[in-house]
Amino acid sequence: MIALYRIALVAARELRAERRQPDGVVAAVTFIAVLVLLESLVVGPQIARDADVASALFWLALAFATILATMRSFDRELEDDALEGLVALPGGRDALFGGKVLALAMVLVLVATVGGILSLVLLDLPVALPVHLIVVVLLGVLALPPIVIVDVVLALRLRARAALVPILALPVLVPQLVAATRGTSAALSGDAVGALSWAGLLFAFSVVYTVIGLTIVPAAIE
């Protein structure tokens, strides 16, 4: 119980700081908005409205947005050694990962909502199964932060982490991105069974990577 309370405290602290210094959210939302706009201009309306293409670009943009938001979150922690202040607390190491995942998932829900609405409106995408779409997007958003946080923590003390984190994170994000893209595409085109199958896989990714993060991060942060 105390562990969950501490995770909630870390998440609340993170969200409060993000609200006051929303650089991570602003960067992520701007990035996803620009990508959606460029997509429709570059490939033309016919190709851009293809469910597979629109889904793939949405999730690619969200993957980069996750990396941006996570790196900004840890950059803020490194200023004035705030991260060390948290890690020095009893149970701080264990609460760090859970709190960050929770807070970043909430931030990404906001980013995905803005990006999703922009995609639907600008590309005039038809949505055959809206509830399935929401389930796939939510589970897809939950599947992204755990492994990105692990990568950022592993690269935390490296000078070149801004370049290294995307290189480390993107290959391991491929399975989640494929599942999220296929699930979104299925929900857009009316394949209920396909959408739910991919949603189940996304849930499994979330659980596996969360367990990995809970195991690795407390030791790696040392």
Partner: protein
């Protein structure tokens, strides 16, 4: 099995960072009262405190602790985007303590009027004061303070000396690493001299 009555201790502790030995087979037992850690720059003072706080891995030896530790390092360790009050409330709640002492502690340290401003808008000295207010707000048994006089003006230094004296009188274990500030000598119960990773009782 040996137990520690109070405070913190390192036994035969060696710390290696970036293939360099920073602490070499150090034996330190910190009990109630003030312990001063002295030594020139680069002698391992910060690493000794971080080892006591459990913030660096020991290549050899072990660390024992009785009670919670409050470690305040070179920098204030406050999260930007939050106010001083919000930062201190977070720390107190995380430890499961109450937050009633926070306002009083921040006022006592002269940050009362600025306690609701985001910490990035405070001066370095004000951030340091807000950080040191944790000593009074969190009431932790073992205090590890690394160069706590940095960024403080004369009034802040006097306030810090009073705070350390009060913590010592309350029976808390206080470890202060500093290469200066001889005015603490008369408060100290024990002294540790560090030289190139070797610790000796001074």
């Amino acid at each position: 099995m040996r137990t520690v009555q109070s405070g913190a201790s390192l036994h035969d502790a060696t710390v290696v960072l970036d293939d360099r030995v920073i602490l070499r087979a150090v034996n330190v037992v910190v009990g109630p009262g003030l312990t001063l850690v002295r030594g020139p720059n680069g002698s391992g003072k910060t690493t000794l405190l971080r080892a006591l706080a459990g913030l660096v891995p020991l290549a050899r030896g072990d660390r024992r602790l009785a009670g919670d530790v409050l470690y305040i390092g070179h920098r204030p360790m406050l999260l930007r985007g939050l106010s001083a009050r919000e930062n201190l409330e977070f720390f107190a709640r995380f430890r499961g303590g109450d937050t009633r002492a926070i306002d009083g502690a921040l006022r006592a340290w002269g940050v009362g009027e600025d306690m609701d401003r985001p910490v990035e808008r405070l001066s370095a000295g004000e951030r340091r004061r807000a950080s040191l207010a944790r000593v009074e707000a969190e009431r932790v048994q073992v205090l590890l303070l690394d160069e706590p006089f940095a960024d403080l003006d004369e009034a802040g230094a006097v306030r810090l000396r009073q705070t350390i004296a009060r913590a010592r009188d309350d029976g808390r274990s206080v470890v202060v690493a500093t290469h200066a500030h001889p005015e603490l000598d008369d408060l100290a119960k024990a002294r540790i001299a560090l030289d190139d990773g070797d610790a000796t009782a001074a």
